[in-house]
């Protein structure tokens, strides 16, 4: 029994907390139980339980035929997932780190994203790729990137960024129900975060952003871990009478234009906060989209983007922290915006 939900659940009777990774695991178990064509593929996802322990114990329940440890072969493995999806299976392929997806770009971008179109609608590739992303663990430059914007640039893919355990579960189930290839970027620092997660099966709609905090003075669009930092910044701003409206982006392709535009028409001031490198990132797309829209006439200040520094992710923990937006920097930027210092 599926239920569509677009609001964070607040009913006391379903008050149950899971961690983000437990929520994902629960989604996988529900899906694999219900549909024998759902299989998991990835490096060390079987008895090891996955590098971030997301797939822990699933192999005991479903066996090695359905929880497949792959050799270290990202390109080949992703291609096997594509071929399997093309021919009747529903694979969930885990990249151990999102950075390793670069080895598989050929199969993701040239094959999975394009097969339906190149074949004139006669093929379907319902594959799901899961990617642990982001910095903050000291894993340094090649294991800490946020490259979701690269895939936002590719027609044929859908790109998701759940920020909460509830969404992590619902979005994975929605991705499995989607006949097109879906990439889900999970921030590593969120895996242990706990939150309300409804029981049973439900689908979080793909392509809908969510206003997590209503406000009138400034619109802050943020996804993944930045949502939580933006909400914290909004609390601080509220004490000084600055009411920020915080929108959880949730989906990078397709972006929910209307939710963002409705907010901009209301507040006239927009900030986009994301962990990808600032230049050529998600914020650039949202800024341009707003400037091109009818909401342009409601802008009362320049659009601000807060993204990562223009450098590979540093190893030193202070540098690492300083290289991405934090609660302080989000708060400061919102103040400058509402105090008309920009």
């Amino acid at each position: 029994m599926n239920a569509m939900t677009d609001k964070p659940s607040s009913q006391p009777q379903n008050l149950r907390t899971l961690s983000y990774s437990e929520a994902i695991r629960e989604a996988m178990a529900i899906a694999m139980e219900a549909d024998p064509t759902v299989i998991l593929m990835g490096e060390d996802i079987g008895v090891y339980g996955g590098a971030f322990q997301v797939t822990l114990d699933l192999v005991d329940r479903f066996g090695t035929d359905r929880v497949m440890d792959t050799p270290i072969s990202e390109l080949g493995g992703a291609g096997v997932a594509v071929g399997a999806a093309l021919t009747g299976l529903k694979p969930i392929f885990e990249f151990q780190f999102s950075d390793f997806a670069m080895l598989a770009m050929e199969q993701i971008v040239n094959q999975a994203a394009k097969l339906r179109y190149m074949l004139g609608g006669e093929a379907s590739v319902p594959v799901v790729f899961r990617l642990p992303a982001g910095s903050g663990t000291g894993a340094a430059a090649q294991h800490s990137q946020s490259i979701e914007a690269w895939f936002g640039h590719v027609p044929g893919l859908k790109v998701l960024q759940p920020a909460t355990p509830e969404d992590a579960k619902g979005m994975l189930l929605a991705a499995l129900a989607d006949p097109d290839p879906v990439m889900i970027f999970e921030h590593k620092l969120l895996y242990k975060m706990k939150g309300h997660v409804p029981e049973g099966s439900y689908l979080t709609p793909i392509g809908k952003a969510l206003v997590r905090r209503e406000g009138t003075d400034v619109t802050i669009v943020a996804g993944s871990i930045m949502l939580h930092r933006a909400l914290e910044a909004a609390e601080r701003l509220a004490k000084d009478g600055i009411n920020a409206e915080v929108i959880d982006l949730r989906c990078i392709r397709p972006i929910d234009h209307e939710t963002i535009l409705a907010s901009v028409r209301k507040t006239g001031k927009l900030m986009v906060v994301y962990e990808g490198v600032k230049a050529f990132g998600v914020g650039a797309e949202i800024s341009a989209m707003v400037a091109e829209s009818d909401a342009f006439d409601f802008l009362d200040a320049p659009i601000l983007r807060l993204g990562a520094a223009d450098a590979p992710v540093p190893y030193n923990p202070d540098l690492e922290r300083a290289s991405v937006p934090q609660v302080d920097t989000i708060e400061a930027a919102a103040r400058r915006l509402t105090r008309r210092e920009v």
Binding site: G268, F296, D297, F298, L299, D300, A301, R340, E341
Partner: protein
């Protein structure tokens, strides 16, 4: 490339002609226009003239040959061009059907190639070639490419010389297989090239025309946010009037608000109305909706009225007609705006109309009095969106107006001073009761609204004269148009409808005054419905 001499079609139903006699010989110099040969047809013989000056070569038809229209019978080479001599073919008839020699084409060898230059021939006219023999080289942007014979036979009708730039797919020679008689050069009818295929019948990509606001004047080089610009435009301000408090002196929306509040003490125009003061407001015009089925009817009320005045007509139209009512600026629940001219007001109404047509592409339009003039202006500019236009006693079709009544209504601050003027609106004074006047005054009890309307009247009807002329618009308007007028209209004379050029219906109503939609709403409703459905005949 040499110029082709073809056997021309000289009669409407001609498919072949017989070459009767040549007037020139191969190798001769010919001048453009000189007689080359005669054709015998079903009618009289016809002389065929040279299409160019040069030397005649490659003659491939002899007297007595029956030749298909369009067949090349010779070539004319200009000075300096290489020539290739073609001996007269042994067989005279060149049938359109039957075995054809094999075409040697200039092939496409690179992805983005449209032409190739023939660099050199490796064989000559009349040579025997086997399949695979190198015939010629093409020069392209990359290295030269050898082109091989596609078949075995003898090579004839070479049609390109070294250095010629040839379109891809064009024939450059023919190969006659062993046993096939060499005939005149075949016509090009058989092979359709990409250019000859019928044009793509699919629709062009839909172009969405952005409906931009009519430009209210360019405030270039001032730093101002988009929101501030929109607010200034709506309040009728120029940015130069506003002080900016943002970075680099940027004008922000609050600056516009502050400016408007700070200037609230000013009164424009010479008709001072006592201590009443008003300040312009910004924001969109007030629009109200009634749901229904089908194409909506947009209603524009008249001066000093508001959307509620449509109530009797709405009842008479029945509950199914969807309605969209717009309050004019300074009326009803719309913001008060400063106007400098009728054009300003029309601009504001077009802006509101454009917002309506974002969701309803086509609408019926009905306006009364000043609202009628505005409806006419909208139909003139936004013809595409207007399915039909109905005007009840529209303003703008002549100079005359009962200015005293207008001003009287506008200024009246009590029911007692309003009633006499209201009574001028109907055919007979009895149409307006004291209760009606009291209710009407309640709607007008905001002095700021009255003051704004007084200023509007000063702009639109100065000295009791209509200062705007919409007769050219009425003559131009494209959609089905009807004028509805009471014969006893004391405010705007019905004869304005007759003095105007254009195609439209006139409905004159006996015993009706300036507000027939209130005096006899059923009669007006029938006319409106009849007019709307008539406009849609053949268009559904």
């Amino acid at each position: 490339m040499p110029v082709e001499v073809i056997l021309p079609k000289v009669d409407m139903d001609m498919t072949h002609g017989t070459l009767a006699v040549w007037h020139v010989a191969p190798g001769d110099e010919v001048a453009k226009g000189a007689a080359l040969f005669d054709i015998e047809t079903d009618k009289a013989a016809m002389e065929v003239e040279s299409p160019a000056s040069g030397r005649l070569h490659a003659v491939s038809a002899k007297p007595g040959d029956k030749i298909a229209v369009g067949t090349v019978v010779a070539l004319i080479y200009s000075e300096g061009e290489n020539t290739v001599e073609v001996p007269p073919p042994p067989v005279a008839v060149a049938p359109v059907s039957g075995p054809q020699p094999i075409e040697v084409i200039l092939p496409k060898v690179d992805m983005d190639m449209s032409h190739g230059t023939l660099a050199v021939w490796h064989v000559a006219e009349g040579d025997s070639v086997t399949k695979g023999t190198a015939l010629f080289d093409i020069e392209t942007d990359k290295a030269a490419m050898e082109v091989e014979a596609p078949a075995t036979g003898t090579l004839h009708h070479l049609m390109a010389a070294p250095g010629d730039k040839v379109p891809v797919g064009d024939v450059v020679a023919y190969i006659y297989p062993p046993g096939m008689a060499v005939g005149p050069r075949p016509s090009r009818a058989a092979t359709a090239t990409l250019a000859e295929q019928p044009p793509n019948p699919s629709a062009a990509a839909p172009i969405v025309a952005a409906k931009s606001l009519v430009n209210s004047g360019f405030d270039g080089n001032m730093r101002a946010t988009p929101a501030a610009r929109a607010a200034a435009r709506q309040a009728g301000l120029t940015l130069a009037e506003v002080k900016g408090s943002g970075p680099m002196g940027r004008i922000q929306r609050d600056d516009v608000t502050a400016h408007l509040e700070g200037h609230s003490g000013e009164i424009r125009g010479s008709t001072a109305v006592g201590p009443e003061i008003w300040s312009p407001q910004f924001g969109p015009l007030h629009v109200s909706h009634r749901k229904g089925a089908g194409i909506p009817l947009v209603l524009l009320h008249g001066f000093t009225a508001d959307s509620q005045s449509w109530a009797p007509l709405e009842k008479a139209l029945g509950p199914d007609q969807p309605l969209i009512r717009i309050d004019l600026p300074g009326h009803g629940r719309s913001p008060r705006r400063r106007l400098r001219s009728f054009a300003d007001l029309a601009r504001m109404m077009v802006e509101a109309f454009d917002e309506v047509t974002r969701t309803h592409d086509r609408v019926h339009l009905l306006g009364h009095s000043l609202g009628g003039a505005l409806a006419l202006a909208i139909a003139d500019i936004r013809a595409r969106n207007v399915a039909s236009l109905a005007l009840i006693a529209p303003a703008g079709l002549g100079p005359e107006i009962d200015g005293a009544s207008i001003l009287g209504i506008t200024r009246a601050s009590r029911a007692e001073s309003l009633a006499p003027w209201l009574r001028r609106l109907t055919a007979t004074p009895g149409g307006i009761s004291d209760d009606y006047a009291r209710a009407a005054m309640k709607q007008r009890n905001d002095p700021a609204l009255r003051a704004a309307q007084v200023d509007m009247a000063e702009v639109l009807f100065p000295d009791g004269v209509q200062a705007f002329d919409l007769r050219p618009a009425l003559a131009r308007v494209e959609c089905p148009t009807a004028l509805i007028w009471g014969r006893k209209d004391h405010i705007l004379p019905y004869r304005h409808s007759l003095a105007t050029d254009g195609d439209f219906a006139i409905h004159l109503l006996s015993d009706a005054g300036h507000v027939p939609q209130i005096e006899c709403p059923d009669r007006v409703a029938r006319i409106v419905e009849w007019h709307q459905s008539g406009a849609l005949v053949g268009k559904r």
